[in-house]
Symmetry: C2
Subunit: 461 residues, 2 copies
């Protein structure tokens, strides 16, 4: 039966893959940007789309569960109480598309070219999340659903999953499962499959520096009044030292340093620095002294300005000293840093370095905890077998640089471990113009996921 | 006859001042923002308005003179070749109005309240320039035009008077005059009249810092790729040292230091530091070590960031490392700094401090030369007498912090000295939201200008 299940999956996928892509494109066309309130209707429409899809595929108890923000789409298929249960998490909201002028084609009109779907959300996370919906279809339509399954699809991941914890706390019974599956990370390469085994956390803050109470003419006041942009730049510059260490007091106190052996193991992952530089057109590499590029992007905490603005930014020239200057600043965290603690440390530090000539306001946005997922679990083993079957290679466990703060929260609130079955690539340009997702990757995900269910059920027997 | 001329002026002004204000408001309603091409039609309309006004008042040879950019409105009244000739310069273009949300009333719908006209251009320079047009009306209608007069009103002052020099070179004969009058500066206070006797020059540049060739996800790449915003902040921060001296190599080489005696003379100008801080809501004063606030704002060169932008600046959070970050940076110059030299020094310096991990592009916008106007001339004496007559006080000669680069250009190309008869106040918020101009100041200007003509003609006899 097992051999025939795999064959049945494969046949069904081959016969329906074109439609799967079309359906994904329909979902992508909904500009469900959660951070911008003017798209609220679209975010709700994306939830509606997924509800209808789950109902159509035969899921039970499908429901758009309201939260204080955007809703969570829930649905389940309980085949047999003796089988293990898989809880699928994904998100249907997307990042803003700007800067719009850098897109080759409109961000919400998916364009298929060179084997990719180009669109905002193509990969993050509509493409990756929809693989699970279509894998569910494959298993349902071929009569081979090997595990019970539950879907929990949210619309606030890009704004910090602000209401997900409350939902989990209130629905502990409904969300009971043996493993959580998330596809919202990347692999090393299409011929180097990998499973993310650790993720960085996040602290995200906004700062405002105020000097005069109104915009001033730089001729009349220049030199005599603190310019909030100059001051903000000085404050930001001081957040790194000459070795690119972060100067926020206490920032590194809880950082777990990897052993030499662990670092040596990491260094075995295939990585071509010249190719990396070339792909991003970097003239020179940059980062914290004493660490490699791969380490800087995964096991080391960071501080980046994600946005800055102040004064006149239009065409031409305006000789103004603005009243205020602003920046959005985020820090990626590693075990055992704690997001709220780091946000507090940052706020105290930033306030302490402000010169007497300005006023400073620091506001914390969302955060999330760093996490390391187990690689010795039954679920990880099942994922490894599934990748091995479809890619012909054992996947490499990899520490990722991004943040999925909810993984730590799921562990804490639901007591369930997650397997991060990502099928995207770092080059997919998520959060950037011309985001894309490989048709190969979309299909390989739909092929691999049902095998996970199969192996997981077998190993759990 | 002299007494009766003064009386006739005064009577005419009293009888017509309400209409003068209404006419100024009509001019202000035209949003003639020269730096933003979408207002091109309005800039031309403002020129048309002034042409019609000069014709109506009896000026001769009135013409809208085309340039490579916005036109120059010319008109003249040659009463008698034996009389001295006054060349009036002013500009009919205005600064952009943003940030719009900080305006109490719409910037191009003049609002009269508390003795002020609130609007973009109310003071700079429509209000101050229109005083000369109305003073001309006063003299014409009372039959007491004591000098020949020429008007040269341009529409590109806020974008660096880019075509004015060419116009002057091509019209040397037409522009022949004994003095140039400009009202585009401020007085110390309504009860402390002053005449600007020196102005700072300007270098204005735009910088662009590029790191990766596309926006990146800060989780995947944070820490491993140079963030152009962080780098730009570091570069900007390094442009001042701990004493707030500017670090651009060679920047101070040509600066003329004032003597202790000159500085002592300057220090006599009435200035209340606590009132200054309170008016701007400054927690602490800031500037170059070793100089007073008044000196920092007038006789010392400066470097200010007038605008900065990069990354995500919308609502909420976006975890992006942008490809590029930008800033507009201007320097105020003092004698004998040369604008083009300083722009070159800045460009070389900025390129030299860029780390190898980024690419830097520096573009020069407009500039202008610093200038000191003579205080021992007949024209200055006539202005002093005119202010003394209307304010009841001798005006203080004052070094201004702003730039009117054309003053140096007029001297060089036309060989004519300028008297800067400003009637605005620093608190008029020019270039800022809620720009205003006192009805008192507008009227006092119209009263003072005809007296200048009268005294200038008498002293020149």
């Amino acid at each position: 039966m097992q051999q025939s299940a795999t064959q049945a999956y494969q046949e069904y996928i081959e016969n329906n893959q074109t439609r799967f892509v079309e359906e994904l494109c329909n979902l992508i066309r909904i500009p469900s940007i959660s951070t911008d309130k003017s798209y609220a209707k679209d975010v709700h429409q994306a939830a509606e789309f997924l509800k209808n899809e789950l109902i159509k595929l035969g899921a039970d108890k499908v429901e758009i569960c309201p939260t204080a923000g955007y809703p969570i789409v829930y649905g389940e298929k309980m085949v047999n109480p003796t089988l293990p249960t898989v809880l699928v998490y994904g998100h249907y909201d997307v990042q803003p598309a700007d800067p719009l002028e850098l897109w080759t084609s409109p961000p919400f009109e998916p364009r298929i070219a060179d084997g990719y779907i180009y669109a905002r959300g193509a990969c993050d996370d509509k493409g990756q999340m929809f693989m699970h919906v279509k894998a569910f279809e494959v298993m349902m339509k071929t009569g081979n659903l090997a595990c019970n399954v539950k879907f929990m699809l949210e619309g606030e991941e890009e704004i910090g999953s602000v209401n997900l914890e409350t939902f989990c706390k209130a629905n502990k019974d409904r969300l009971k499962a043996d493993v959580i599956l998330i596809s919202d990370t990347s692999m090393i390469a299409n011929d180097v499959p990998s499973i993310t085994a650790g993720l960085r956390g996040l602290s995200y803050l906004e700062v405002e520096v105020t000097s005069p109470n109104r915009d001033l003419h730089s001729g009349l006041y220049g030199g005599a009044v603190a310019n909030p942009i100059n001051i903000l730049c000085q404050m930001i510059a001081s957040l790194h030292d000459e070795n690119n260490h972060i100067t926020v007091k206490g920032f590194y106190d809880k950082v777990v340093e990897l052993s030499a052996a662990e670092r040596a193991e990491m260094a075995k992952a295939p990585f071509d620095l010249e190719a990396y530089k070339k792909a991003l057109d970097l003239t020179e590499i940059h980062g914290e002294k004493g660490y490699t590029t791969l380490e800087r992007a995964s096991i080391r905490p960071t501080l980046d300005v994600n946005g800055i603005w102040g004064g006149y930014t239009g065409q031409g020239a305006k000789t103004v000293i603005p009243s205020k200057a602003y920046a959005k600043i985020s820090m990626r965290l590693v075990p055992n840093q704690v997001s709220s603690e780091i946000s507090d440390l940052f706020q105290k530090h930033f306030e302490s370095i402000a010169p007497a000539s300005v006023k400073v306001k620091v506001t914390a946005h969302h955060g999330g905890e760093p996490v390391v997922t187990p690689t010795d679990s039954v679920a990880y083993k099942a994922a490894e077998m599934a990748y091995n079957a479809t890619f012909g290679k054992k996947p490499i466990p990899q520490r990722g640089g991004g943040s999925i703060p909810i993984v730590a929260m799921f562990k804490k609130e639901l007591g369930i471990d997650t397997v991060l079955m990502g099928f995207g690539l770092d080059s997919d340009a998520i959060h950037s113009p011309n985001e894309k997702f490989g048709l190969f990757n979309f299909k390989r995900g739909i092929e691999t996921i049902p095998l996970f269910y199969k192996y997981f059920a077998e190993l759990k027997k």
